[in-house]
């Protein structure tokens, strides 16, 4: 996607840049404010969602208007934030500090694109830290710690085999828990990466480049 024009539709994207820069500034300010004030021990779902959404919005706009460096750095921050807001990672001061540093780097990148002068920041080390933090083990990977949350003080030697089975069976992705995973959906999946082969039949059309897709009409589905 070109930064300045979209050749296919002959649109000069530069006419939208000013609004994007203004929005990005607002999102960055919101992120910084939320992160500075966040309670690391109890961050709260709303705060995490708001920070994630701000990063997500910057990424989307940057990608749309061709600011690849902004989009890529925001993607790294967003990926880390996604794990935190889903509860897969506990929020730490290291994560907060790295996200704040990411915000500062994004401001510099945007300044370059805006023509405000200054050089593009070097972000390789920052990206490496974001990825390292993101690759941390799940907060609840340890069966013992999960069971200890139910019965404090219990050690692994005291856990009967059936306890492990019980814990695993109560996990959201476990077989038999389908109804809980997406109770208000026509159909749902635990493993986000899995999609039964039959669902490919639900697609009526998909653009070869992956730019868009259309679902099969309900009437077509009923006929199958």
């Amino acid at each position: 996607m070109r930064t300045e024009t979209s050749a296919g539709a002959g649109i000069d994207m530069r006419q939208f840049h000013a609004v994007f820069f203004e929005e990005a500034d607002e999102h960055l300010a919101a992120m910084e404010s939320l992160l500075v004030d966040i309670d690391i021990t109890n961050p709260g779902e709303d705060a995490l969602k708001a920070v994630f959404r701000a990063a997500h919005s910057i990424k989307g706009g940057a990608g749309t208007f061709g600011f690849a460096d902004v989009s890529e750095l925001t993607h790294e921050a967003e990926t880390l934030l996604d794990r935190v807001r889903k509860g897969e990672l506990g929020l730490t001061s290291a994560i907060v500090d790295t996200l704040l540093e990411s915000g500062d780097a994004l401001k510099l990148q945007l300044a370059v694109h805006r023509g405000d002068g200054g050089g593009a920041p070097e972000v390789a080390a920052l990206v490496a830290r974001l990825r390292t933090l993101c690759d941390s083990p799940r907060a609840d990977d340890d069966l013992e710690s999960r069971f200890a949350a139910i019965i404090p003080g219990l050690t692994s030697g005291e856990l009967p085999a059936c306890a492990y089975a019980l814990i695993e069976s109560e996990a959201p992705g476990a077989a038999g828990n389908e109804e809980q995973a997406g109770a208000d959906e026509a159909f749902g999946f635990f493993d986000e990466g899995a999609m039964p082969a039959a669902h490919d039949a639900l697609l009526a059309e998909e653009d070869a480049s992956g730019a868009y897709g259309l679902f099969a009409a309900p009437a077509a589905l009923a006929a199958r």
Partner: protein
């Protein structure tokens, strides 16, 4: 020519969508989030809804479900603007009642192409 409702919390994206589609001859009304989108849909009939997913207040999936609950919008095409096209997104969108999706960042020419497919 049908009127299209563009719902996105980013004014820059909304403006780009509106500019692109108006240039192709369509009428466009804009909404900055799902709540405003639903209100605009109820206020007047639109021929197509294009909605972002991650928005403050009412998100895109909830907007799609709310629109499908309205008799006037049971069959109106609804396209999701989404940053990823994974199986989970497809399943969720299809279950909510979406007609299809457009991946962000999108090429304006592709947007016009898919709009023409669902409207003509």
């Amino acid at each position: 020519m049908k009127t299209i409702l563009a719902v996105d919390d980013s004014a820059a994206i909304r403006q780009m969508v509106a500019f692109t589609l108006k240039g192709a001859g369509y009428g466009v009304v804009e909404a900055k989030d799902g709540n405003e989108g639903l209100a605009r849909a109820k206020a007047g009939t639109v021929g197509l809804v294009i909605t972002d997913q991650n928005m403050p207040g009412m998100d895109g999936i909830t907007l799609i479900k709310s629109l499908r609950a309205l008799p006037a919008y049971k069959s109106v095409p609804i396209l999701m603007l989404t940053t990823e096209a994974g199986d989970a997104m497809k399943a969720q969108g299809r279950a909510a009642g979406a007609t299809g999706w457009v991946v962000k960042p999108f090429d304006p020419a592709k947007l016009i192409e898919v709009v023409k497919k669902v409207l003509h």
